[in-house]
């Protein structure tokens, strides 16, 4: 339960970490303005020789107070050429993002300018920052708590709106707050138990016993909600895997191209064109989706064994959603049905493709007969019909995974998930113990175990807080 803090930081710090490091702090690619950040003691002295303020009023960089700016030119000391005109902002330790001395240059955003500036600064003796290093430094300098630091990394890597919004909420400390709230409930409960145990002569066990049963139920529900939300949260950071599968020639590659609006997958009328899986990242209403095209599957003697390439099977197993394409004519429906049953996938959706063809009506009717209680989805890449319904299905699936309350922050990090899983397990055991007539020392120990697990998230020390809770709520003493 006591986390090993070393594993939390996945990269090892070396003594170099206290050197000045530099990187472009704005997202990669072309932009109007970009920010180049230098962090570390002596950053001002480092940049000063190449920074020529436009006005004599400006002091040398190292004499500028924190939170002030200066406009000036960056001149190459070698060639004497102007590289760019920039706005320089100075931050002094610890009042900066990283907690160290920081210089930020707002420069023009062309790739060439950014590259020349970085090269120049490196030649002055700075080191290129590793990915996430500014955040790591901020964390190490106590500017961010762990959840927040992890959220920054998520934020940087966020590819869609929804991901970014959630990461921002994490950064605000929303998750920490919501976890504190659950911890607080647990503390109240534990304090009531401890009161009975610590002061047996003040017997209040009857009232406490009733509180306990109700309280544990409630907390279990709450934690459970967050744990469930993880499947959504994970999608926001890792993406949702949507697989297009079916018999050869069913139109999988065509559909992939249509949904992704590309010509990545080769389309022919020869069955078995696609030999290996093809994956494209797309954004469906803010949900990052990995759309996967697979090799066609046909029935053989031992269907599941010979499911085309083993790779297809793996992809199917780890998919969040599988569309099984069935193209007219109706002849092979029986075979499709057998394969689908043998696959036993949870989120497998039959999809009639090439709906523009005449035979498709017969196929639809046959399918309706097979799955009477399911609305049959159809699509055609020729007419574009059904594509929106497919997107809608993706969104629905995402939403059905998730948290019940709208304002819950989603867990995105598997470390957080592991902590909550363990907290949940302890609460469940405590409830069982209570109903099974197990003594209260054990129940207390389980509730404490749950708090320990949450403390890994919130960074709280259980014993102290507990004693404070006992005394603030109850009148006890000799």
């Amino acid at each position: 339960m006591n986390g090993d803090y070393q594993t939390v930081l996945d990269t090892n710090l070396t003594s170099q970490d206290h050197e000045i490091c530099v990187a472009v702090a704005t997202p990669p690619g072309q932009s109007g303005i970009a920010v180049i950040r230098l962090s570390g003691k002596g950053a001002a002295e480092l940049i000063d020789p190449v920074f020529k303020p436009v006005s004599k009023r400006f002091p040398p960089v190292f004499s500028m107070p924190g939170y002030t700016c200066a406009v000036g030119k960056i001149i190459s000391p070698v060639t004497g050429e102007l590289i760019d005109q920039v706005v320089l902002t100075r931050f002094t330790a610890p009042h900066s993002y990283t907690g160290e001395e920081v210089i930020e240059l707002s420069c023009h955003g062309s790739l060439a300018i950014k590259q020349s500036l970085i090269d120049l600064i490196l030649s002055l003796g700075a080191r290129a920052a590793e990915p996430g290093e500014f955040t790591k430094r901020a964390f190490l300098n106590g500017k961010l708590d762990l959840i927040q630091a992890e959220a920054v990394i998520d934020l940087i890597q966020a590819e869609t709106d929804r991901s970014a919004r959630n990461a921002a909420a994490l950064l605000q400390g929303d998750l920490s707050q919501q976890m504190m709230f659950i911890s607080d409930n647990l503390y109240q409960l534990l304090a009531s138990i401890e009161l009975v145990l610590e002061y047996p002569e003040h017997d209040e066990s009857d009232t406490v016993s009733a509180q306990l049963a109700a309280g544990l139920d409630l907390i279990e529900q709450k934690i459970n909600r967050y744990v469930q939300g993880f499947s959504q949260g994970r999608i926001l950071t890792e993406g949702m895997t949507v697989v297009l599968a079916g018999r050869p020639n069913a139109g999988k590659s065509s559909l992939l191209n249509a949904l992704a609006n590309t010509e990545r997958a080769i389309v022919t009328d020869v069955p078995g064109t696609t030999r290996d899986t093809i994956e494209i990242k797309i954004d469906i209403d803010g949900i990052p989706v990995h759309l996967v095209d697979t090799a066609g599957v046909r029935e053989t003697e031992d269907t599941v064994e010979k499911l085309g390439v083993a790779r297809t099977r793996d992809v199917l197993q780890s998919a969040d959603l599988v569309f099984w394409l069935i193209a007219p004519p109706v002849d092979h429906l029986q075979e499709d049905q057998t394969i689908m049953e043998q696959l036993q996938l949870q989120s497998l959706v039959p999809l009639v493709s090439k709906d523009d063809l005449n035979e498709s009506l017969a196929l639809r009717q046959a399918i309706e007969a097979c799955w009477p209680d399911q609305t049959i989805m159809t699509c055609s890449v020729l007419t574009g019909e059904g594509l929106d319904a497919i997107r809608k299905k993706v969104i629905e699936t995402y939403e059905s995974l998730g948290a019940q309350a709208q304002n819950d922050v989603l867990l995105t990090n598997s470390r957080h998930k592991a902590c909550l899983d363990s907290a949940l397990l302890s609460v469940r055991k405590a409830r069982e113990a209570l109903h099974g007539g197990i003594t209260w020392d054990i129940i207390a120990s389980l509730v404490r175990g749950s708090l320990d697990a949450l403390a890994e998230l919130t960074g709280d020390a259980v014993s102290d807080t507990l004693v404070d809770t006992i005394f603030s709520r109850f009148c006890v003493g000799k």
């Binding site: 145990l197 054990i442 020390a461 009148c475 003493g477």
Partner: protein, 650 residues
């Protein structure tokens, strides 16, 4: 600051003696410290201001209770004295929390406090290598040559100078103490003894930081003025247990000669008296500056802080077998005497109570325990140890536990041996000392089971299994006791094994037994151990189905039952302990210079420099040290190790 030579040059000064170790104070900490020191072979002197008050109990006349009972068992398991003395002096025994589980099961006894003092004083007097002497120490004498200060001796008010190698401070609540009863305030110690003057200044002179704490005690009344009819009588257990493992088979107390306690409640009149006189309460008017304990609030505090609570429990406890005095637990107060009398008489059964001693609050100087090392030696002053209330604790048991450890470690230091440091998973004593030294305390610190993270393992029934081997290796457990211990452990282990192997088949007889115990009948054969895991079944219940069982003592039976019944939960806790120990084992070299570690926040740097934790685990518990600071520290330690290895290679 003086050394012995300088002190001897004062007029009237004389060299009164030379010892290895001098213990200042004859309270519960001092007694354990002195006994341990002498028993471990060191010439020892114990000094007290009044030898008629050796091992006095100026507050409640009981020993043990939740967490405190566990402490006494641990003290005994290590070879301390408190458990044995309490066994001989008890007049009532109760095992608290009998239905709440073994982790919180806690022995408590009412004590004849006079008898207890007498037993302890006699024990001191009869101990080899131990001198007992009345006298007030007013100054510590130190050698200030070199970097560190080193204890050389003590100076008494009479100008007697004793030379010694180590001093153990166990001065309790006496340093510059002040008694407060309403508007009446005067210099004085507990039970109308004198306060100790001068030593505080000497400590400050050595650069030590003192804080001022406050505590209080309720009035004592004459039993003959009490009407017990409206009260609830609380008798002792029909079959008492003993504190000491030496007495576990034969507790000295006669079950039929136990003296009861009584329970009564405060009334609306009590509230009215307090509310009308709040302006006369020095606690609330700000006259008292010391910080009082939250777990032992005065009655006026209780009404002010918990106005919703209608009434409060008050227990009447006998002060001894040969006295009519009774202690009013729960009615601690610093109100003026006239208010106290009306207050006491507002309780059912106490309408005509006669007070024998008034309640009072007491303020005193104590050390900030963060100045100490885990061995209880003061950082920066070689040979100075401290234990008990001077370290910011409250309670006889907490004091005794520290006294024992300080005594052991003072001797080990002189012998050039590693100190005994118990960790949080080994003993309540470990939790206590770790809390004090790592976190300090802002109120008198009382032990509570809730403070222990590994309560299921730190039980009163297994204190011997946890600590007697340590007591033995230290040298405080004699051969007879050691043999007894080993035989007991073996019997327990053998029986646990047997219970795992013996299977009970479903039968009419087993059905009847199960039914009578309120549990479901067997459907298939089950081992005795399986059956014991059912909450409804206890070891003795199975005797009918298990005629071949060995005859075990009551405590052995309990040990077997607990080990089996709670096996799974104990294993869970042991896993957590494993995790905990991983960080405890990541030790931090004493030579570390926190100023050299870049990336540590200033606050963390200061706290770590001051408290010098011995391990990452301990550093983690210091408030103001964040996970990020720990990460930085870990990485620094790793780089130290790497540099070291490279240095060796190069």
């Amino acid at each position: 600051m003086k050394n012995v030579t300088a002190a001897l040059s004062a007029s009237g000064a004389y060299l009164a003696g030379e010892y290895d170790i001098i213990v200042i104070g004859t309270g519960h900490a001092g007694c354990e410290a002195a006994l341990a020191s002498a028993r471990l072979g060191r010439q020892t002197l114990i000094l007290g201001m009044n030898l008629d008050t050796v091992a006095n109990m100026p507050c409640n006349p009981n020993i043990g209770g939740t967490a405190k009972g566990q402490l006494v068992r641990e003290i005994d398991a290590l070879g301390g004295e408190m458990g044995r003395a309490a066994d001989r002096a008890m007049i009532q025994f109760r095992m608290l929390n009998a239905s709440r589980g073994p982790a919180v099961l806690s022995p408590r006894a009412q004590i004849d406090r006079r008898l207890y003092q007498q037993i302890m004083k006699e024990t001191l007097e009869k101990t080899e290598r131990l001198d007992v002497r009345q006298g007030e120490v007013i100054e510590l004498l130190v050698d200030a040559d070199g970097h560190e200060l080193r204890i050389e001796g003590v100076r008494l008010r009479t100008e007697a100078i004793y030379r010694c190698k180590s001093v153990i401070l166990a001065t309790g609540t006496f340093l510059e103490s002040r008694i407060i009863i309403g508007d009446c305030q005067y210099s004085g110690g507990p039970d109308s003894q004198f306060a100790a003057h001068g030593l505080s200044e000497s400590l400050r002179d050595l650069g030590l930081l003192l804080q001022r704490f406050k505590t209080g005690t309720p009035a004592r009344i004459n039993r003959r003025s009490v009407d017990f009819t409206p009260m609830e009588q609380q008798d002792g257990d029909p079959i008492p247990f003993a504190f000491s493992y030496e007495n576990e088979e034969n507790p000295p107390i006669n079950p039929d000669e136990q003296i009861p306690c009584y329970l009564t409640w405060t009334t609306p009149q009590t509230r009215a008296v307090i509310e009308q006189n709040l302006d006369r309460s020095p606690l609330l008017s700000g006259v008292i500056e010391g910080v009082g304990p939250r777990y032992c609030p005065s009655i006026e505090d209780k009404y002010v802080k918990f106005p919703d609570k209608e009434r409060h429990q008050i227990f009447l406890e006998p002060m001894g077998r040969n006295t009519e005095e009774m202690y009013l637990q729960g009615l601690s107060s610093s109100m003026p005497e006239d208010v106290q009398l009306i207050m006491v008489r507002s309780l059912p059964g106490l309408q005509s109570a006669r007070i024998m001693r008034s309640a009072y609050a007491i303020e005193y100087d104590c050390l900030d325990p963060r100045l100490l090392q885990m061995s209880l030696e003061v950082r920066g002053i070689t040979g100075l140890f401290s234990a008990g209330q001077i370290n910011g604790t409250s309670g006889y048991e907490e004091a005794a536990g520290q006294g024992l450890i300080a005594g052991i470690n003072a001797v080990r230091k002189l012998n050039d041996e590693e100190p005994v440091i118990l960790d949080r998973s080994q003993a309540y004593i470990g939790v206590l000392i770790d809390d004090l030294i790592t976190k300090g305390t802002t109120e008198p610190y009382r032990m509570m089971t809730a403070r222990a993270e590994y309560r299921l393992v730190l039980r009163q029934d297994n204190a011997d299994a946890r600590l007697t081997p340590i007591g033995r290796s230290v040298g405080l457990i004699d051969q007879a006791r050691w043999d007894h211990f080993q035989i007991k452990q073996e019997r327990i282990q053998t029986e646990i094994e047997r219970c795992r192997n013996i299977r009970i088949r479903p039968s009419a007889e087993s059905d009847a037994v199960m039914r009578s115990l309120g549990t479901v009948p067997l459907r298939q054969p089950a081992s005795l151990a399986d059956l014991l895991k059912r909450p409804e079944i206890h070891y003795e219940d199975l005797e009918v189905l298990d005629p071949d069982r060995p005859s075990l003592s009551r405590v052995e039976q309990t040990a077997v039952e607990v080990s089996i019944k709670y096996e799974g939960y104990i294993r869970l806790e042991e896993e957590r302990i494993g995790q905990f120990r991983k960080l405890e084992r990541k030790s931090i070299p004493d030579s570390i210079d926190y100023r050299l570690i870049k990336g540590l926040r200033i606050e963390a740097q200061q706290k770590l420099s001051r408290q010098r934790p011995i391990s990452i685990g301990q550093a983690k518990r210091i408030s103001g040290v964040s996970p990020a600071d720990l990460a930085v520290l870990l990485i620094y330690l790793q780089s130290l190790k790497r540099d070291d290895e490279e240095g060796k290679r190069g």
